[in-house]
């Protein structure tokens, strides 16, 4: 627990300062570098707080320099660390016995678990899931006019954007104020986010949605493959390239994970080359 600070000369932080930190946290990765990762972005986002707490350019510059070192976490969750650090900086500026190293330790201790929990939730699960919702929109939404402009071109990206941001923006906007309010209890703060639970929910929803998409696509493909009703043998022959592309890529990804682009390009070239010989 951090002691209650004695009244000092520094002005207390205002809601507007925290709102400015939140808005700046959206640009956290603009000067991302391999060595410091989001370090410069962290200093940039915290600047409104440092300006409020320290008087004079020299003092403000010194405080900023302390926050330009290595910092790496999940960008959507960075607000929680910014809020905690803002609270500690405020107490330190108002005379509480908090060392610079203590603030740095808290910063690092929070950043690592947030990165470890944030990456699986946002990059691995939620982002692909939101894309899948957009794709499903294409399969499930009816065409207003089959011969007219296809308005799904606007609805599908909107569905994807809404799905992702309904979750991510909540964390973005709540991060700084919640981190500031729970600065003394980082364990409680981490636990209250329920990131692992959300990851499990979206993982399952994502797999469910993909199953849905596969059947919808196969239903459309079989219908368009056999308009004259020539039977199962004809459908199998027409769908064979799809199945071969699926199996080839699935095996390739097992052998070379992360090479989906190269495998897809190779599959397309191979198919073109083979088709010219048939």
């Amino acid at each position: 627990m951090i002691e209650t600070p004695p009244a000092g000369t520094a002005s207390p932080l205002r809601g507007l300062d925290l709102a400015k930190v939140t808005s700046r946290s959206f640009y956290l990765q603009a000067l991302f570098s391999p060595e410091r990762q989001q370090g410069l972005g962290f200093g940039f986002a915290l600047l409104p707080v440092l300006r409020r707490l320290h008087s004079g350019a020299g003092e403000q510059g010194k405080a900023l320099a302390r926050h330009l070192g290595f910092f790496g976490t999940h960008p959507v969750l960075a607000g929680y660390v910014l809020g905690v650090v803002a609270r500690l900086e405020e107490r330190r500026a108002r005379g509480a016995p908090i060392e610079e190293t203590q603030i740095e330790d808290v910063k690092r201790a929070l950043a690592s678990p947030l990165a470890a929990l944030g990456d699986p939730l946002f990059w691995v699960t939620l982002r692909p899931f939101a894309g899948l919702v957009g794709i499903l929109g294409m399969g499930l939404l009816p065409l207003a006019d089959p011969l007219g402009p296809d308005l799904r071109v606007l609805v599908c990206p909107l569905l994807a954007l809404l799905t992702y941001n309904a979750v991510a923006l909540r964390f973005r906007f709540a991060g700084v104020p919640r981190g500031y309010a729970l600065a003394d209890e980082p364990g409680k703060l981490l636990h209250s986010l329920k990131l692992a639970m959300l990851t499990h929910i979206f993982e399952r929803a994502s797999a469910f949605g993909f199953g849905l998409l596969v059947v919808l696509t196969l239903s459309v493909l079989t219908k368009s493959a056999d308009p004259a009703g020539q039977g199962l043998a004809h459908i199998t022959l027409v769908l064979a390239p799809f199945v071969l592309g699926f199996l080839g890529t699935a095996l390739g990804l097992k052998r070379w994970p992360g090479r989906s682009v190269e495998i897809a390009l190779a599959a397309a070239l191979l198919a073109l080359a083979l088709s010219t010989r048939v």
Binding site: S33, A57, K62, C156, A250
Partner: protein, 226 residues
């Protein structure tokens, strides 16, 4: 999320929407390119494997190449399967653009080392406004890089397609375009399976539940149809 291929492709498609004679395909091509790129470029292994792909500009470049080529090259490369050829061209252009765009990301991040040293100096001297200007410059640079790469990648893609496709006019037939499209669709679904099912706990079980749910729904709809 606005940088996702599906979003970029659909918005670019709505923006570039060609004349009314292309109305049937003009907005379906962006959807097709966007869906294929979305499935191929959201592989969860990509961030961990440290192989950056520029998925944000891939959709924009892919769709722009597809639509501009459709307008210009249809007279010389006309196939019976209509828009499928241009979906293929756009997807391949988008995939290549994502790889090349990824290569451009590394030097940009390496150059940020020098900017970090400059930021340290400015902070030590207490020049906070200059530090902020340096940072906003970084934001602007990212935007300009994306915009200029989108334009340059589109021009390069159209030039390459204009050179290659007319020479392959005899080879590129409707059935062949359909076959390559089917293979690429299969590849995209395999990538999607890798992302949505293999990466999830009990993924197969949930995917089967989804498949069963839509199957029952389709049977019910067909049963209700007169």
């Amino acid at each position: 999320m606005i940088g996702q291929p599906l979003v970029g492709a659909c918005l670019a498609g709505a923006l570039w929407n060609p004349g009314p004679q292309w109305e049937l395909w003009a907005l379906r091509i962006p959807l097709g390119v966007g869906v294929l790129l979305q499935l191929l470029l959201t592989d969860p292994s990509l961030p961990a494997a440290q192989r950056p792909r520029d998925a944000a500009t891939a959709g924009v470049i892919g769709v722009s190449v597809a639509l501009f080529c459709m307008e210009r090259l249809t007279p010389s490369v006309s196939v019976s399967t209509g828009g499928i050829l241009w979906v293929l061209v756009g997807t391949i252009a988008g995939l290549v653009a994502s790889v090349v765009g990824g290569w451009m990301e590394a030097p940009l991040r390496a150059r940020n080392r020098a900017r970090a040293a400059r930021a340290d100096e400015l902070a030590r001297e207490g020049r906070l406004r200059a530090f902020e200007a340096l940072y906003w410059g970084g934001v602007l640079r990212i935007f300009l890089r994306g915009a200029s790469w989108s334009a340059a990648g589109t021009v390069a893609g159209i030039a390459a397609a204009s050179l290659i496709l007319p020479r392959l006019a005899d080879t590129v037939t409707g059935p062949r375009a359909g076959l390559v499209f089917a293979v690429l669709l299969g590849a995209a679904f395999a990538s999607g399976f890798h992302t949505h099912v293999r990466a999830a706990r009990h993924g197969l079980r949930w995917a089967a539940a989804g498949a069963l749910a839509v199957l029952l729904l389709l049977l019910r709809v067909r049963g209700a149809a007169p």
